[in-house]
């Protein structure tokens, strides 16, 4: 216990004084949260909040239309919670859209030729994210107009029921927050073994300890514990900032969250350690870990739903561990639901891989040193 306390204390102080490491572990995930939260937190690429104010759009009704359809436009716009702003020309519509004049978000040019109505939707190039959504609105507008002109009543109605399986309503920032926690755990875990076994070995620090009664397991456990403490600190900061800055509501199941945290951390440590065993040179292992993290960030459903990826990429995405870390975290934070069986299965697989790989890596590194 004395030896463990000594090595743990030394590693803890070292970690707290390592500014670069603290930046990546603490500040970097927070920066992610703040930037992505502010950028995407109140919006979704595919939805509008129907309780929000009306969406304004500019519309130019070409003289080829003949007759007055303004009433129709007003009626159908009202039904769809849209507010039309009549423009005098196509150029006016383009200008309004481009410059966002009077809060205009998209534009419509309505014309008619040979009994065919033409709805041309105009969108701002700088608003690429929401183009799909606006196209959908224009399409709805065109359909509603069509029905209104013909005084046609819908035959088949659609009733949409938005189900919520969580105790509290979930926002997109909540989703982002669990993604950020997943990233934080991943970065901490992947780099932990590389630093303590890779860089320490390179600097002959491990070699020096071999000449003392310190055994490998004390060293390993002290390192794991230190990494976990700093990671917990990072997660707490993320949760606090998420709550204070973005009013994220989460109903954390502490037990499930702890399990997810532990198994995910250990798995990532195991993967980081495997990189070290493969590449030996710690800089190469660290670079590989960074590349792996970046790829997982993009493909693990943290910032883009996996369902939006091409099918073949979805298969790849479902092989990435961070996909499951993020899913489990959302579940543990009450932000989405997965079957309990899936939750436990993933955790068991994680811990099984880690319990084999981490001791193996520790033994291998010490063995390498002893030649």
């Amino acid at each position: 216990m004395r030896i463990f306390r000594g090595i743990f204390k030394a590693m803890f102080k070292s970690k707290l004084r390592d500014k670069a490491s603290l930046f990546w572990t603490l500040a970097f995930p927070l920066m992610f949260l703040v930037i992505f939260g502010l950028a995407f937190g109140s919006t979704s690429t595919t939805s509008m909040n129907v309780d929000s104010e009306e969406t304004r759009y500019a519309i130019f009704i070409d003289e080829s239309v003949g007759g007055s359809v303004q009433e129709n436009i007003l009626d159908v716009s009202g039904e769809l919670n849209l507010k039309p702003l009549l423009a005098k020309s196509t150029e006016d519509v383009e200008k309004s859209v481009k410059e966002g004049l009077d809060g205009v978000e998209f534009g419509v040019i309505l014309s008619k030729s040979n009994d065919v109505w033409s709805f041309e939707g105009l969108y701002d190039a700088a608003d690429m994210n929401r183009q799909q959504l606006y196209q959908s609105l224009v399409s709805n507008l065109a359909n509603a107009f069509r029905k209104d002109i013909a005084e046609f009543e819908t035959i088949i109605e659609v009733e949409i029921r938005d189900r919520q399986f969580t105790k509290e309503p979930v926002t997109s920032i909540g989703y982002i927050l669990s993604g950020v926690i997943a990233i934080s755990i991943t970065f901490s875990g992947l780099t932990a073994m590389i630093v303590s076994f890779g860089f320490y070995r390179k600097e002959n620090i491990i070699k020096r300890f071999l000449a003392t009664p310190l055994n490998g397991s004390s060293f390993l456990i002290a390192d794991l514990l230190n990494t976990m403490i700093v990671s917990i600190l990072s997660i707490l900061l993320i949760l606090v900032i998420g709550k204070l800055m973005f009013q994220v509501d989460f109903v954390m199941n502490v037990f499930y969250f702890s399990i997810t945290f532990l198994t995910s951390m250990f798995l990532m440590m195991g993967i980081g350690g495997m990189f070290l065993l493969i590449f030996r040179e710690p800089n190469a292992a660290m670079n590989t870990a960074n590349i792996f993290s970046v790829i997982m960030m993009f493909f693990a459903g943290v910032y883009f739903p996996i369902g939006f990826l091409p099918n073949w990429l979805q298969v790849f995405a479902r092989l990435l561990p961070m996909t499951y870390v993020a899913k489990n975290l959302r579940f543990a934070l009450g932000q989405d639901f997965i079957p309990l069986s899936e939750f436990w299965l993933v955790n068991i697989i994680f811990i099984a891989i880690a319990s084999v790989s981490i001791p193996f890596i520790g033994r291998s590194i010490f063995k390498l040193e002893k030649g």
Binding site: K98, S118, F119, Y123, A126, V138, R163, F308
Partner: protein, 390 residues
């Protein structure tokens, strides 16, 4: 003498595996990822999972719905089908599947669907039929899940088209409507690959400037390499210009690799003979280099240079319009967007490539980066210590 020094800097960089990866290879990876993801959103390769609970039995309405569902289902062998449809009768089980993310939405055709359908079809001309008496398709989805939300919206649109088809068959004359879409200020040949090409190019230049140049200059300072050179006839101006040129060399290699890759695999439309964009690229390179110089001027060790460069670059790239438009962000960050020089070079780069008009006044694409370059250079000239001492 200078060319030998320049060659030495270049050789040193080319032998650094990290340089090769982050400066040359990573932009290709990032570009591929971004294009793959964004070009598929709303694209042909989307598919969703649907649970269908058809309680309607036999009837005209069912027939109509069956035809519709056949058209969108993958079970007919249609590889581009939107939905993988699974039929169930147990509502609880279906909701469980929705809860467990095993399906994106549940579509229910209720028992009285055909009755109500017939009523509407045959009797709507006689008297108005209220909405609650009309045949209703019920869609259950989870709004917070983007795929579920999107699939619900798509299904709603499909039903809308079904209505029009049904109306046609009923002999109801509906006006024909033709829908087109146009992006204002964007070239006709625009594609996502072009958008990201410009963004990733700016990222690659800044990676080289901030990290390769910034960290390496700091390293040379710390290891007294510059101090050693100062004991030779080499002037400081020659030394710095060689360092700058070597980084420009890497930027050009990065650009060339990215361009070839993007043209071959993603058909980007960038015209290499467009003088405006070449000049703008040089301006961007100059901005990146001035930032690298600044990082090395204020950092004592390569570690602190790396940390500082990361702190700078992370918000700059994500709030600079490299990967997504930033002008409609919250006012809390919008101020940063407008002082961020990357915002201007990203918009300016796209504009100079003829891809899309910038929402910013044209002069700002040049003035703001130039102001930043001057500012960075002034601070760096004042702070940079050749001998590595504070």
């Amino acid at each position: 003498m200078k060319s030998v020094l320049l060659k030495s800097f270049i050789k040193s960089g080319l032998r650094e595996r990290e340089t090769l990866f982050w400066v040359l290879l990573f932009p290709l990876i990032l570009f591929t990822i971004m294009v793959l993801i964004f070009s598929n959103m709303g694209g042909e390769d989307l598919s969703f999972n649907m649970v269908l609970m058809d309680r309607s039995g036999e009837g005209m309405g069912t027939t109509v719905m069956d035809q519709v569902l056949e058209g969108i289902s993958s079970s007919t062998g249609n590889k581009n089908a939107l939905f993988n449809i699974r039929e169930m009768s147990d509502e609880q089980k279906a909701l469980e599947l929705l809860k467990e993310q095993k399906t994106d939405l549940i579509v229910t055709i209720p028992e009285d669907f055909n009755q109500q359908f017939n009523k509407v079809v045959f009797f709507s001309k006689l008297s108005r039929i209220e909405a609650e008496d009309r045949p209703t398709v019920e869609i259950d989805r989870v709004a917070i899940r983007d795929t579920s939300k999107m699939s619900g919206d798509i299904m709603e649109q499909i039903i809308s088209q079904v209505n029009f088809e049904a109306a046609k068959r009923m002999g109801i004359k509906l006006p024909e409507v033709d829908m087109t879409n146009r992006v204002v200020g964007q070239s006709e040949e625009f594609n996502y690959a072009d958008y990201f090409f410009a963004g990733v190019l700016v990222m690659a230049f800044f990676s080289t400037g901030l990290f390769n140049m910034g960290i390496n200059l700091t390293l040379f300072k710390q290891r007294k390499i510059f101090k050693r050179f100062s004991a030779t006839p080499l002037s400081k101006a020659q030394l710095m210009s060689s360092a700058i040129l070597s980084n420009l060399f890497f930027m050009m290699i990065a650009f060339g690799l990215l361009l070839i890759y993007a043209k071959v695999f993603y058909s980007v439309t960038w015209n290499i003979f467009r003088l405006k964009s070449i000049l703008y690229m040089l301006l961007t390179a100059g901005l990146a280099i001035s930032f690298g110089y600044f990082v090395s001027a204020v950092s004592k060790t390569p570690n602190s240079a790396s940390g500082f460069a990361n702190v700078l670059f992370f918000p700059m790239q994500f709030l600079g319009g490299l990967y997504f438009p930033v002008f409609d962000l919250s006012p809390v960050v919008l101020w940063f967007v407008y002082i961020n020089p990357i915002t201007y070079v990203a918009a300016g780069m796209r504009e100079s490539m003829g891809l899309m008009e910038s929402p910013l006044p044209n002069a700002l694409h040049y003035v703001v980066p130039l102001i930043w370059i001057c500012g960075m250079l002034l601070i760096s000239l004042w702070r940079f210590r050749w001998d590595g001492d504070a």
